[in-house]
Amino acid sequence: MTFPLDSILRFRTLAVCSIVACSAAFFVSCKTSGGPAGSEIIVGEYASLTGGTATFGQSVHNGDVLAVDEINASGGVLGKKINLVTEDDQSKTEEAVASVQKLVNSDKAIALLGEVASSRSMAGAPIAQQAHVPMITPASTNEDVTKKGDYIFRICFIDPFQGKTMAHFALGSLGKKRAAVLTDVKQDYSVGLDEAFKHTFSTAGGTIVSEQSYSTGDKDFHAPLTSIRAANPDVIFVPGYYTEVSLIVRQARELGIECPILGGDGWDSPELTKGEEQQFNNTFFSNHYATEDPDSTVQNFVKKYQDKYHAVPDAMAALGYDAARILADAIKRAGSTDSSALRKAIAETKDFPGVTGHITIDENRNASKPLTIIKIVDGKFHFAQRIGPNGEALTPLK
C-alpha cells in the first residue's frame, strides 16, 4: 500500500513544483516587463482594522505607515519607494488567511507585516512560509508563531520572557526575596508568565511562599489574597489581564497587603486603575515601551507620531513602527528583494535601534530585546526601568 501512494505523492509534488515554477517564471516575467512594479517595492500588511481587536490593528497600521512614509521621504530603499498594501482581516482568522493569500498571490508582496493576535499570525504564517515570503509579526507573543517555519519572524518578546524578567526585577531592582503568585488558570498567557517567574525567582535565590489561582471572570479574590497575606510575602506577581487585576489590587490593598504587586503587559489599559487610583501605588508591570522613556529614539518617535495622528502612541504603534523599519533595514542589507536573501538578512538583524529597544533576532527567529518596566503612580503609568534580555538592569530604577 505504501508504494503506490508514495509514488503518487512524489508525482504530485513534482507536478505542483513544475506548475509553481512555470507560474513563478510567468509572473516574474510579467513583473520585469515594466509597469509601476519595477519602480517600487511592494510590502504587504494584514491587520485587524475593524472588529474585536480593532484598536490593536489600527495602532500597528499607524506605526507601519509612519515608518514607511519616513523611509520613502528619505529616498526609499535600493533606490525604490516602498508601497505598503494593507488588507483588513476584520479581526477574523479566516479573513487573515484570505488577506495573506491575496497579498502573496495577487499583490506579489515581497514581505509581510502582521498580525497582532497570535491566532491570526499562526493562520497566515503557513501561507507565507509555503510561498517563501518573509513575514514579521510586530506583536504576537505566543511561542508557537515563529515555529511555523524559517520565514516567520517576530520583533516582540515572548510570554515566558516577561515572567523571567519580572523575577529578575523583583530580586535585583526591588531586592525582594519572598514572592507570592496569583495566576489565572484559564489563560495560557498567565500560566506561561507564572511558570517562568517561579522558575527564575527560585533558581536565582528567592523563595515562592504562596501559589494561588483564580479563573477569568472571577470578581471575589478575598479568599486567595487572605492565604497570600498569611504567607507574608514581600512581593506578589499577578500575571493576569486588566479586568481581573483591577479588582485584585483593590482587594489586596483593602486586606492590608501593602507590598509591591507586579504584572505583565496584560495590565496595559487605561481601565486598570479607574476609580481607585491611589491603591495602585507601588505596583509595576512589564511592557514593550514607555512614552516617557528618556531615550532619544523613543522621544523622536512619540513626537513624530503625535504630529501625524494627534494621539499618544501605544505599545502596538511602537511595535508596528519597529517592524516596518527592521524590514526596510533588512532589504537594504540584502541588497535585493530576493526572498532567500531577504530572509537571511532579517535573520541576521543585530542590535537594531528600535523604539522598543535594541532588537536582535535569535536563532529561533524571536527577538532578543530589552523590556520596559512601568510604575503606576496615582493611576498614571510612568517609565521605571529598562531591563536587558538577560535580566540585567539597563537604566537605574526611577
Binding site: 488558570v185 504562596s210 501559589e211 494561588q212 489561582s213 483564580y214 479563573s215 471572570g217 472571577d218 470578581k219 471575589d220 478575598h222 479568599a223 486567595p224 487572605t226 492565604s227 497575606r229 498569611a230 479586568t243 483591577s246 479588582l247 483593590r250 483593602e254 486586606l255 492590608g256 481601565e271 479607574k274 476609580g275 481607585e276
Partner: protein, 301 residues
C-alpha cells in the same frame, strides 16, 4: 488566624447570594416556577446604582455621603421593583394558566432579553462602580481586616432579611402571600386577590435583587451586562440548598455557598471551587431532597 478572615470574606459574599436567593425562593413559593431572569434584574440593579450615583445623585450630595448612598439604594430598589412587576405583567401573567414549562422557557427568554439589551444600552465593556461606600478598614490587625464595605454589606443584607421576615409574618399582605403559597385555589376562594399578591412578590423580590446589585457593585467594582449569570446561578443553588420556597432556607443556603466558595479558594484549589460548591449541593440533595429547611411535599396526582 487566617480562618477568621476567611469567615468574614465568606459571610459578606454569602450575604449577597442570600439576598438574590430570597427573590428566587419567594417567587417559587407563590408561583412554583424558577424566575431565571432574576439574576439579570440583579444586573440591572447594579447599573441603575451606577448611573444614579455617577450622573444624578452626585448633583445633590457628594459621592460617599450617607444621603447619596441611601438614595442610590432606594433608586435602584424602586427601578428593579418596577422592572420585576412589569416582567411579571408582560411576560408571565398571560401564561399563568399554561403549563409551568412554558413559563420557565419564557423566563429564559426574558433573561436573554435583559442580558443582550443590557449589552446594547450599557455596552459590553466592564465599568468601574463609583465608591459610594468608603473601603476604609474598620478593624485592622495582623490577623484580620474588616472594611466598611463588608460591614455595610452584612448589615444591609441582614436588615433587609429581617424586614422581609416582618413583612411575611406580621402584615396582611404577607399572610396573603403565605396563603397563596400554601394553596392558591383555596386562597382565592377566601377572597385573596391572587394577582395582587403575585405582583407584590415580584416587587419585593426584585427590590432585594436591586439592593444586592448595588452591594455587589460596591464590593466588586467592575460591572458588565452578563454579570448576573453566575451570581444568579449560585443564588439559585443556594435557594435549592436551603429548601426552595423557604425564606430562612434561602438565607442559610446563601451563607453556606459563600463560605464554601471562600474556604475552597483560600486553600489554593480555586480551579475546583465551583465543582466543590456544586458537589456539596448534590450531596445535600441526595440525603435531603427538599433542601436543608424545606418541607417534604406530597404531590397530589
Amino acid at each position: 488566624m487566617q480562618i477568621l478572615q476567611q469567615l468574614v470574606n465568606g459571610i459578606s459574599l454569602g450575604a449577597i447570594y442570600a439576598l438574590i436567593a430570597l427573590g428566587y425562593t419567594m417567587i417559587y413559593g407563590v408561583l412554583r416556577f424558577i424566575n431565571f431572569a432574576h439574576g439579570d434584574v440583579f444586573m440591572v440593579g447594579s447599573y441603575v446604582g451606577y448611573y444614579a450615583a455617577t450622573y444624578w445623585v452626585s448633583h445633590f450630595f457628594p459621592v460617599g455621603s450617607l444621603e447619596s448612598t441611601v438614595l442610590v439604594f432606594l433608586i435602584s430598589m424602586s427601578v428593579c421593583a418596577a422592572l420585576g412587576a412589569s416582567i411579571e405583567f408582560l411576560a408571565y401573567r398571560p401564561l399563568r394558566s399554561r403549563p409551568k414549562l412554558t413559563v420557565l422557557i419564557t423566563a429564559i427568554g426574558v433573561s436573554l432579553f435583559l442580558e443582550y439589551t443590557g449589552q446594547l444600552f450599557f455596552g459590553p465593556n466592564p465599568r468601574g462602580f463609583p465608591p459610594i461606600i468608603s473601603n476604609k478598614a474598620v478593624i485592622h490587625s495582623s490577623s484580620i481586616t474588616i472594611n466598611m464595605i463588608q460591614v455595610v454589606v452584612i448589615t444591609v443584607s441582614l436588615g433587609l432579611m429581617l424586614l422581609l421576615r416582618v413583612i411575611v409574618m406580621r402584615t396582611k399582605i404577607g399572610t396573603a402571600m403565605r396563603a397563596v403559597s400554601f394553596n392558591q385555589q383555596a386562597a382565592s376562594l377566601m377572597g385573596i386577590n391572587i394577582s395582587r399578591v403575585i405582583t407584590f412578590t415580584f416587587i419585593i423580590g426584585s427590590a432585594l435583587a436591586g439592593a444586592g446589585g448595588v452591594l455587589y457593585g460596591t464590593m466588586y467594582p467592575s460591572i458588565e451586562p452578563l454579570m448576573g449569570i453566575l451570581p444568579g446561578l449560585k443564588a439559585f443553588v443556594a435557594a435549592v440548598l436551603g429548601g426552595i420556597g423557604n425564606i430562612p432556607g434561602a438565607a442559610l443556603g446563601g451563607m453556606i455557598i459563600g463560605l464554601v466558595e471562600t474556604f475552597v479558594s483560600g486553600t489554593g484549589a480555586s480551579t475546583y471551587r465551583d465543582a466543590i460548591a456544586f458537589g456539596i449541593l448534590i450531596a445535600i440533595l441526595v440525603f435531603k431532597p427538599s433542601g436543608l429547611l424545606g418541607k417534604r411535599e406530597i404531590e397530589k396526582v
